[in-house]
Amino acid sequence: MPTLFFVFAILAIASAVMMIAHRNPIYCALFLIVTLFALAGLFVLLNAPFIAAVHIIVYAGAIMVLFLFIIMLLNLKSDIAKERPGRWMQFLGILLAAILFVQLGFILQSRDANFLDESAALGTPVQVGDTHTIGQLLFTKYLFPFEAASVLLLSAIIGSVILAKRKVE
């Protein structure tokens, strides 16, 4: 188990770094797919096999195909001159991200973060998120958010069709 965690973690971080560092958008998309597969492996380690399967189907199967389709439709080439950010901008971006990371670290280190010690009660059966349990929760306790999500998806479909169809003058 620990080895698998470190393999997936290193794979996820390395391909994420390659994603934001690579110039060609198609390679960026392919590296993001590797990251998503590594995250799906971590989800399996965390007792969430259903979420892992849905993650691969939705992200690697649908969303990334959409990304690759748009990249190829727009025929984007790796434009080095336009893509290279100024050195000042790059420095500022990384500095801001580092500040954010330090803030996250402070939250984890703070005294209020005692939720980390409060482990699950021993003796209760370990809950595994398989299709049966997730479906039962989704159609009883979370029925209203589930229906609201379907309305959201419908409006997104209509909105994207209208946005992409109309010729902008």
Binding site: M1, P2, L138, L153, G159
Partner: protein, 101 residues
């Protein structure tokens, strides 16, 4: 031996920060979108790690809804990029200044 939850939180934080760096330093709008997806996935990892830590499935349901919102966001966002590309022949965000006063 099980992995302590702080490892998962650290990994999630690192992935989120990589996404932030991507959004702040890249200029290609599609790559910026992919970085946003990376940040959403980092948050999903946190949800599932806490879901296991607290032995509750509610976190996994939330990941489900985050995925729904991410799919909707990608569909609308890519449609916007296509519409702007038709208008400007460019997806580089510093050349898209329609809303600049």
């Amino acid at each position: 031996m099980t992995i302590p939850i702080s490892y998962y939180l650290l990994l999630s934080g690192i992935l989120f920060i990589i996404g932030v760096i991507g959004v702040l330093t890249r200029r290609n709008a599609i790559v910026i979108f992919m970085s946003i997806e990376l940040m959403l996935n980092a948050v999903n990892l946190t949800f599932i790690a806490f879901s296991k830590h607290l032995n509750s499935l509610d976190g996994q349901i939330f990941v489900f809804f985050v995925m729904v919102v991410a799919a909707a966001e990608v569909a609308v966002g890519l449609a916007l990029i296509v519409a702007i590309f038709r208008l400007r022949e460019s997806v580089y965000v510093d050349e898209i200044n329609i809303m600049k006063w």
